[in-house]
């Protein structure tokens, strides 16, 4: 049996007798120290999906009391109507809700801006329900494709 560690560290590939399985393995949670000055987070994606690695990284930010803005720029397929896709986006929603609910958060709260490209008619209301229930604000602005 060969155990390899691919780039996405939440998945191990086990190769045994010509068969390959992918097994999700829970990882120890990482806690970054409080990011006391962090005001803006910008995330640039090149596919509709978001990787487990990125969700892990965002989730490791447990305290950012000055954070006021998180921006996601990402592509959408023309005509996509059901969004967001399930899976890792749920983890992002939970992370945003947790930060929104932080005691000591600066007035004005946390705003998430979605910047899909090239354009689209997606149903943005489906985005980040937990975050919005926690009082977070969501805005959408179409963007140009990154160079």
């Amino acid at each position: 049996m060969i155990l390899t560690d691919p780039p996405d560290r939440s998945t191990f590939t086990i190769d045994h007798s010509f068969a390959i399985w992918k097994v999700d393995v829970p990882l120890p949670e990482v806690h970054l120290p409080p990011l006391s000055a962090l005001a803006r987070v910008e995330i640039q994606l090149y596919s509709e999906g978001i990787s487990g690695r990125l969700v892990d990284l965002l989730s490791s930010i447990h305290s950012a009391p000055a954070l006021s803005s998180v921006t996601f720029t990402f592509p959408v397929r023309h005509g996509a109507s059901v969004f967001p896709p399930p899976g890792p986006w749920v983890g992002v929603d939970k992370w945003l809700a947790r930060l929104t609910g932080d005691r000591g958060r600066a007035e004005g709260g946390l705003t998430v801006m979605l910047k899909p490209w090239p354009d689209g008619d997606s149903n943005w209301e489906g985005y980040f329900p937990t975050f919005r229930m926690a009082g977070g604000k969501l805005t959408v602005e179409f963007a140009s494709a990154p160079s």
Partner: protein, 191 residues
Amino acid sequence: MVLWDANVPKDPDGIPSYVHHVQIRNIRFWDNPAIFGRVLKTFSSVESLTMAGANIPPLDEVLGPVSFGKFGKGLTSLTLFSQSCTLATITSFILSLSNLEELFIEHVGTMSEEPLSTLPDTSRREPLRWLVLQEVPNALGAALVQYRFTCNSLDLDVRTHAVESLIALSSETLVKLSLQGRRFVCVFGEK
């Protein structure tokens, strides 16, 4: 570059001091590595240096024994794009720039990971205003952590090996964090 170098010895004081940016492109191997050092020494007004497809020559060949912190004092911005020199060379050069404010490193190939020589304590260095690491080898991210580089704005490819450590080091100074996912070609517009 060659023409400029040929003229410098004739009139070393005649170099105009209004040159603020130097860009060196597509020099993988230096026939005369000393030219590189002369550029930085002669143009005392240079504030930013871009090396695009041009490798940094080993500093001991450029300058002799390097006096860290006394070299490239005016340089505040360094861009390294498409490098393939050794880890020791690249880190030695970065560490030699004591007033660096912006550091952009993108598309650096696999580099030899020979042990770094003993270098100065950089823990008291001012935070960089902006640090960008995109598609760099793990060893380079780890080296920046080893030398405790902090920053105000951090722009990272999430595949960078030392992402968490770089963020943690800047926990008190980081104002803006930009993260990029895996880049690949997407096709749109099919109806």
